[in-house]
Amino acid sequence: MEFELETRKRIYELIRDSPGVHLRELTRRLDIVIGSLQYNLHYMEKKNMIYSIKDEDYVRYFVKDRKFGEDEQNILSFLRRTACRHILINLLQNGTMNNKELSDAVALSPSTVSWHLNKLAGSGVITKEKVGRISNFTVTDPELVAELLILYKESFLDSLLDSFIDMWELDKKKSKNDLQSV
């Protein structure tokens, strides 16, 4: 899941930055085998993220202008927060996780993770299921969240605010895995 997401994000960003780019150029610039590239392009076309135009010998790709619905805007607002984004990526990778597992994975204290999980569950982005004394969390619509993760682009303001918040996260643990690249 992580690998596919990263590949699709790279493809999407290249098409966004170079509108009209064709298949061979995409293969060359991204260094992805043509079969995998075609599979991912087909997926993104099906999901209305990109569209293609046949231009003589070439098929050219463009990103689709898209208006986000209320649910999508809600998810995107969570994706702008680094902690929530990392929680959602981990949930997409592992399916179901509890607070402790997520706390270890995103390198934040259980109380901070719990705070974010409650916000995510409260808005319906994730689903909470209680098994005995432990609460397990899953992404309510993994397809949609994965799709929006590809479209998400961090702004300068987002990274500035993240740095500022990090300064005050005194309970932050040492990171076990770096998810910045996703």
Binding site: S111, L161, F164
Partner: protein
């Protein structure tokens, strides 16, 4: 009009604090965390303190009155930072 170098430094400190207030307030608006609200208020009062202490550039007659409010705001700023550090979320 601006003669003393320390007045210039105070004025620049006030502007910097105002900038930090804007950043911290935007962080609060995004995260809705009480800790961020307390920090943003601390920077807000720090900015006021900076402008007040530099205000004798513009109002030289204010004197002792400004000194009291400067000390009071200093206390408020430290109190807000302490509360932010103690706040668990």
């Amino acid at each position: 009009m601006i003669s003393e170098p320390d007045q210039v430094v105070r004025l620049i400190s006030g502007v910097l604090a105002l900038l930090l207030f804007i950043i911290s307030f935007l962080a609060y608006q995004r995260e809705r965390r009480r800790k961020m609200f307390l920090v943003s208020m601390a920077f807000f009062f720090y900015a006021i303190m900076g402008f007040l202490s530099a205000s004798n550039i513009f109002f030289p007659a204010a004197g002792d009155y400004l000194e009291f409010w400067g000390s009071f705001l200093n206390f408020i700023v430290l109190l807000l930072f302490s509360l932010a550090l103690l706040t668990k979320e």
